[in-house]
C-alpha cells in the first residue's frame, strides 16, 4: 500500500512541477541561472525561503544592471523533496534551459544525487547549506559551513566558557549527523574527554515523541559533571524536542543544547520563552549588528512584503555564493563554466556579518563562526564571534580523511590529494 501510494504521489508531484514553472520563455539577451529548491514535499519548509531569497538577489542584481550587460533570468524548478528528481531537474536545467549556473539543494542526499550530473555536463552548483564535509567536487561550491566552521567552534565554546565535560550528541539518523558526530567524537576524545562521557543518540526523521530521550539526557546529565547536548536533529523534529525540553523543565543554565540545524526560521513556529539560553552555531544570525545586514533585511522584507519574515544562515550562504559567481563572471567576461571555475578562486565578496568571504581553492569559503543564545523573541543574542575560518572539506579528525586536501587550481586540480602518499586519489567523491 505504501509503495503504490508513494508512486502515485511522485507521479502527481512530477506532473504538477513540470507544468507549473515554465512560464518564462527563453530570451537570447538574458543570462539564465537555475534555482533548484523543493517547493513541495517535506523539505519545502526550508527550501522555499531559499528560492525566494534567490529571486530577490536576481531582482536586486538586475536593478544594478545585471551581469555582463545582460539581465539575469532565474529558472525555477521544483524537485519536490524527491532525491532522484533532483538529478532529473538538474539535467533539465543544464541541458534544456542552458543555465549558466545552478543555485540549490538542501539535504546532502539531494546534493549527492545531482553531483554526477554537474560533473558529467560540466556545470556549476552553489550549495548554500551547512554539511558534513568529506566531499569535494570540481563543479560544486560549498558556501555553507563545513564541520570546522560550525560544530567544532561550538563545542570549543561550551567546553571553554561553560565548562562542559559531558556530551550528548543527539541527531537524526542520516549522513550529516552521523558524519558530524563521528568527527565530534574523535575531536572530543582528542581533547581528553572519556568515552563514557559521550552519549550518542539517533532518532528517525520527523521523530515526535521525545519523552524517553529527554529523560535519558536528564539522567545522563545528573552524573555530577556539567553536561551539554550537541544537536544535529533535523528539520521538523526540533519543535517537539524543544517543547519536551521546556516542559520537562530542562533549563539552558543546567543542560544547554547547542544546535546546528536550528535557526530563526525553525524557531518561528515555537514559543521560545522556555528556551532562552539554548544555543546555536552559525555563520550568520539575523541579529548581526552590521549595516550590510540591516540593508539586506530591509530588502528582504520589501521583497516578501512581510515584515515578520526572518532571515537565516543559508540565505547568507546563498547571498555570498550568488555575489561570488557574479564577480567571477565579470572577471572572466563570460559565463563559460571552465573560465568561471578559474576566475572564481580567490574572489572576495562582502558577507552579511560585516566582513568579507573569500572562495578558497578547495571550493569552500572563509567566514566567521558565531555562537548565539536563543532569546524570547525568537532571535539570537550573539555571545561569541570568531575570526574568519577556512572551510575544511576533509576533516582532520577522521583517520580516513586526515591526510587528504583539495585544491582545484591548476596544475593540481584534485579534490582528494593525499599529502602522505603525494598522489591524487582520483576525482572527489
Amino acid at each position: 500500500m505504501k509503495i503504490s501510494a508513494k508512486f502515485g504521489g511522485a507521479l502527481l508531484a512530477a506532473a504538477l512541477s513540470t507544468t507549473a514553472f515554465h512560464g518564462a520563455l527563453a530570451q537570447e539577451d538574458t543570462i539564465k541561472i537555475g534555482v533548484l529548491h523543493s517547493l513541495s514535499g517535506t523539505m519545502a519548509i526550508s527550501e522555499t525561503t531559499l528560492k525566494d531569497a534567490m529571486l530577490m538577489l536576481v531582482e536586486e542584481q538586475n536593478k544594478k544592471g545585471g551581469v555582463l550587460g545582460k539581465q539575469i533570468e532565474a529558472v525555477v524548478v521544483d524537485p519536490a523533496s524527491d532525491w532522484p528528481l533532483f538529478a532529473e531537474k538538474a539535467r533539465q536545467l543544464i541541458s534544456q534551459d542552458k543555465v549558466a549556473a545552478v543555485f540549490g539543494c538542501w539535504t546532502s542526499s539531494s546534493r549527492k544525487s545531482v553531483l554526477p550530473v554537474f560533473e558529467e555536463l560540466n556545470s556549476i552548483l552553489f550549495y548554500p547549506v551547512q554539511y558534513e564535509g568529506e566531499e569535494s567536487s570540481r563543479n560544486i561550491f560549498y558556501t555553507g559551513a563545513a564541520p570546522n566552521q560550525q560544530a567544532i567552534p561550538a563545542v570549543d565554546y561550551l567546553a571553554e566558557t561553560e565548562g562542559v565535560e559531558r556530551w550528548v550528541l543527539a541527531g537524526t539518523d542520516y549522513v550529516y549527523p552521523q558524519t558530524t558526530n563521528k568527527i565530534l567524537k574523535a575531536y572530543l576524545m582528542s581533547k581528553g574527554v572519556a568515552e563514557e562521557d559521550i552519549m550518542i543518540n539517533y532518532t528517525p526523521f520527523g521523530h515526535s515523541d521525545w519523552q524517553t530521550i529527554v529523560t535519558d539526557i536528564k539522567n545522563f546529565g545528573s552524573a555530577g559533571k556539567k553536561t551539554a547536548v550537541v544537536s544535529t536533529i533535523n528539520g521538523d523534529a526540533n519543535v517537539p524536542f524543544y517543547k519536551e525540553l521546556g516542559n520537562q523543565g530542562i533549563k539552558a543554565e543546567d543542560i544547554p543544547v547547542v544546535a546546528f540545524s536550528v535557526g530563526e526560521e525553525e524557531l518561528a513556529g515555537l514559543d521560545t520563552t522556555p528556551l532562552v539560553g539554548h544555543l546555536a552555531a552559525w555563520n550568520y544570525f539575523q541579529s548581526v549588528d552590521a549595516d550590510v545586514n540591516a540593508e539586506f533585511i530591509e530588502t528582504w522584507h520589501a521583497f516578501t512584503k512581510d515584515e515578520k519574515r526572518v532571515t537565516n544562515d543559508p540565505m547568507e550562504a546563498a547571498y555570498i555564493g550568488f555575489n561570488a559567481w557574479i564577480k567571477a563572471v565579470e572577471a572572466a567576461g563570460t559565463t563559460d563554466t571552465d573560465a568561471v571555475l578559474d576566475a572564481i578562486i580567490g574572489v572576495s565578496v562582502p558577507n552579511l556579518s560585516g566582513g568579507t568571504s573569500t572562495v578558497m581553492p578547495n571550493h569552500h569559503i572563509t567566514k566567521p563562526v558565531l555562537i548565539g543564545e536563543i532569546q524570547s523573541d525568537g532571535q539570537f543574542e550573539i555571545v561569541q564571534e570568531t575570526a574568519a575560518v577556512v572551510g575544511d572539506e576533509w576533516s582532520d579528525y577522521l583517520p580516513d580523511s586526515k591526510d587528504l586536501i583539495s585544491d582545484w587550481r591548476k596544475p593540481m586540480e584534485c579534490g582528494n590529494f593525499n599529502v602522505a602518499t603525494g598522489k591524487c586519489g582520483g576525482k572527489g567523491s
Binding site: 500500500m1 503504490s4 501510494a5 502515485g8 504521489g9 502527481l12 517547493l39 513541495s40 517535506t42 519545502a44 519548509i45 522555499t48 525561503t49 566558557t161 561553560e162 539518523d173 543518540n201 539517533y202 532518532t203 528517525p204 521523530h207 515526535s208 515523541d209 519523552q211 524517553t212 530521550i213 529523560t215 536528564k218 539522567n219 546529565g221 545528573s222 552524573a223 555530577g224 559533571k225 521538523d236 519543535v239 517537539p240 517543547k243 516542559n247 520537562q248 523543565g249 539552558a252 543554565e253 543546567d254 544547554p256 526560521e265 525553525e266 518561528a268 513556529g269 515555537l270 514559543d271 522556555p274 532562552v276 539560553g277 544555543l279 543564545e373 532569546q375 524570547s376 543574542e381 555571545v383
Partner: protein, 537 residues
C-alpha cells in the same frame, strides 16, 4: 574598560568618605553602572560583589538582568531596568524602582547575558532573597540555592534557617543548607549528615549533587557517599519502570488520537482513506487560526483557546470530509484501489492548498498555561500536556463508543456497513448515512489535530507523519472494531517505549514494524477480528 570601572570605583570611594550614610546606595549603584561596559567574566564578578553586599535593593535589577531587560544608556553608561513601551523603552531606576522617563531604543544598549551569568545571578538572587518577608519568595530562594550549590551561600542559608518558621520553607532550606555544606570546608561529620539529608531528597538530582562532590570529599566519607548513591539508584529503578509505562501509555494515546478517525472511515466504512492525515492537519491549522484570532482580539481568553478550537476544528474538518465524500468517494465505493489513489491525490491537494495559504513554514501554536510544564509524581516527571492528551483521547474514545453503540445514528451506521441492502429496505437513507459517517470520522480526526498541535509541528506535512502509524494501529487492532483500536494503540505505544531505551529509537521502530508484520501473518484480521456473517458481506 577596566580603567573606567576602576575610576568609577575610586569616585565611589571618594563619595563614600564624604557621606557615610549613603554607603550602600553609592556602592550598589556604582557596581550596577560598572556592568555597562563589562564583559561576561567581569559581569560575573560584579554580580558576585552585588550578592556579597547583601543589599536587597539590587534584587529587581538582578532579576531584570537575568531576563535581559537591563540596559545601559549610551550617553553616560547609566544602567536602567527597561520595559518595552511601543517603539520606545521605558526606563526604571534600578535601585529605587522609580520611573525615569522614556527613550528611543537606539539610545540604549542591552547588557548582554549568557548562561553562565544567568547561573551566577540565580545563585546570587537565591542568597539575597532568603530573608524576604514573602513566604513564596523565600521558598523560591531556597530552591534556587538548592539548584546551584555554592559554599558562599552557606552562611546566608544558616542565618535564614534560624529565623524561618514556615515548615515547608524550612524543610527546603535544610536541603539547601546540606547542598551548600557539601561544597564548603566544614568538618567531615557535618558533611556526613548533609549526605544523609541529600539522599533523603531522592531522585536523579540528588544523585547528581552527590556525584559532583565525589572527588572533593574526605576519603572517610566515600563509603557513606557510595551507599547513599546505591540506595537512591535502587529506588529509582522502580520509578524508571513506572516512567516507561507512562511514556508508553502517552505514546499510545497519541497513536489512538491519530487513528481514531481512521477507525471510522477505514475501520467501519472500509475506505482506504489516505487523506486522513490531512484532516488531522486541518484540525491543527484550525487551532492556529483560532489562537491567532484570540491573540489579536481577546488575549485574556488565550487559556480557553483549545476548548474554543475543538468545535471549530470539528466543523471545518467534518465539512471538508462531507465534501470529499459527496464529491469523490461516493463514486468509488467497492473500488479500493481507485479510492486509495483518489484520496492520496486529495491529500496532496489539501497539503499544497495549506502551503499556498499559510506558507510552508511552521505556524506557532501556543500551549495554554495549564498545558505547560510538569509535576513530580513520586520519582517520575509527568508533563501536563501529555497527561491532558491521555485524558482527552480516552474521553473521545468513550464518547465515540457511546455514539456508535447507544444512538440511533450509530445503529444506522452499523446497519449500513453490515448489510447495505437490508438497511436500505428498512428505510434508512444509506447514501446520507455514508456521508455523515465519513464526515464524523473526518471531524474526529480534526479534533485530534487540535490536541496534536500541542506536541507537534503545525506545518503542511503534519498529516503525513501520522498516516502510516494510524493505518498500523487500525490494522493491528482489527478493522471495524473500536476496542481493537484502543488496545492496539496502547500495545504499540508501550511496546515502542520499552524497546526504545535498550535498542534506540530507530531500531525500536523497525522492530515494532517487524513484529506487526509477523503478527498479521498469524492473524490477518488483527487483534479483535470481527466474526460472523457481517465479515463476508
Amino acid at each position: 574598560m577596566i580603567f573606567k570601572s576602576l575610576l568609577r570605583a575610586c569616585l565611589a570611594c571618594l563619595f563614600l568618605s564624604l557621606c557615610t550614610p549613603a554607603f550602600a546606595q553609592a556602592d550598589s549603584k556604582a557596581l550596577l553602572d560598572s556592568l555597562a561596559d563589562a564583559n561576561f567574566k567581569q559581569a560575573e564578578e560584579i554580580v558576585g560583589q552585588l550578592a556579597a553586599s547583601g543589599d536587597p535593593r539590587v534584587v529587581p535589577a538582578l532579576e531584570a538582568f537575568a531576563e535581559g531587560d537591563l540596559y545601559a544608556r549610551k550617553s553616560d553608561d547609566a544602567v536602567f531596568i527597561t520595559q518595552a513601551a511601543g517603539s520606545k523603552l521605558a526606563l526604571i531606576d534600578p535601585l529605587s524602582g522609580e520611573s525615569a522617563g522614556e527613550v528611543a531604543k537606539g539610545a540604549m544598549s542591552k547588557i548582554r547575558v549568557n548562561n553562565n551569568l544567568r547561573r551566577v545571578i540565580r545563585s546570587a538572587l537565591g542568597g539575597l532573597t532568603l530573608l524576604s518577608p514573602d513566604r513564596n519568595t523565600r521558598l523560591q530562594a531556597a530552591s534556587a540555592v538548592l539548584a546551584s550549590p555554592s559554599a558562599e551561600n552557606l552562611d546566608l542559608v544558616e542565618a535564614a534557617l534560624e529565623r524561618e518558621t514556615d515548615p515547608e520553607v524550612k524543610a527546603r532550606m535544610v536541603e539547601a543548607r546540606a547542598v551548600s555544606l557539601l561544597s564548603s570546608d566544614r568538618p567531615p561529620e557535618a558533611k556526613r549528615e548533609a549526605i544523609e539529608t541529600i539522599a533523603s531528597l531522592g531522585g536523579r538530582n540528588a544523585i547528581g549533587i552527590l556525584m559532583s562532590s565525589a572527588g572533593t570529599l574526605d576519603p572517610s566519607l566515600q563509603e557513606d557517599l557510595d551507599a547513599a548513591i546505591a540506595r537512591l539508584e535502587s529506588k529509582l529503578a522502580f520509578w524508571d519502570m513506572a516512567q516507561n509505562v507512562w511514556y508508553g501509555v502517552s505514546l499510545g494515546s497519541v497513536l489512538l488520537l491519530a487513528a481514531i478517525g481512521l477507525a471510522i472511515t477505514f475501520g467501519v466504512m472500509g475506505i482506504i482513506n489516505m487523506a486522513h492525515g490531512e484532516m488531522v492537519m486541518l484540525g491543527a491549522y484550525s487551532t492556529f487560526v483560532v489562537q491567532d484570532v484570540i491573540r489579536s482580539n481577546a488575549p485574556q481568553l488565550f487559556d480557553w483557546s483549545l476548548p474554543i478550537a475543538l468545535p471549530v476544528a470539528f466543523l471545518v474538518t467534518a465539512l471538508v470530509g462531507l465534501a470529499i465524500e459527496r464529491g469523490v468517494i461516493r463514486f468509488l465505493y467497492g473500488r479500493p484501489l481507485e479510492t486509495l489513489l483518489a484520496t492520496w491525490g486529495i491529500s496532496l491537494i489539501l497539503q499544497q492548498a495549506i502551503r499556498s495559504i499559510f506558507g510552508p513554514t511552521n505556524q506557532e501554536v501556543g500551549n495554554p498555561s495549564w498545558m505547560s510544564g510538569s509535576f513530580a509524581l513520586g520519582g517520575m516527571t509527568v508533563t501536563w500536556n501529555r497527561m491532558w492528551i491521555i485524558v482527552f483521547s480516552l474521553t473521545i474514545f468513550f464518547a465515540l463508543l457511546a455514539l456508535m453503540k447507544r444512538s440511533a445514528f450509530g445503529l444506522q451506521m452499523r446497519a449500513v456497513t453490515q448489510n447495505r441492502r437490508m438497511a436500505s429496505s428498512m428505510g434508512i437513507r444509506t447514501p446520507w448515512v455514508d456521508a455523515f459517517t465519513f464526515a464524523l470520522g473526518s471531524g474526529i480526526a480534526g479534533i485530534a489535530g487540535v490536541a496534536l498541535s500541542q506536541i507537534d509541528n503545525v506545518s503542511p506535512n503534519l498529516g503525513q507523519s501520522y498516516i502510516i502509524d494510524s493505518f498500523m494501529v487500525v490494522v493491528f487492532g482489527g478493522v471495524g472494531n473500536l476496542w481493537g483500536t484502543l488496545v492496539g494503540a496502547l500495545t504499540l505505544g508501550v511496546l515502542n517505549k520499552f524497546l526504545e531505551p535498550s535498542v534506540g529509537a530507530v531500531l525500536g521502530k523497525i522492530l515494532v514494524l517487524v513484529l506487526i508484520i509477523l503478527f498479521i501473518q498469524k492473524r490477518p484480521r488483527g487483534l479483535f477480528a470481527l466474526k460472523g456473517r457481517a465479515v463476508e458481506a
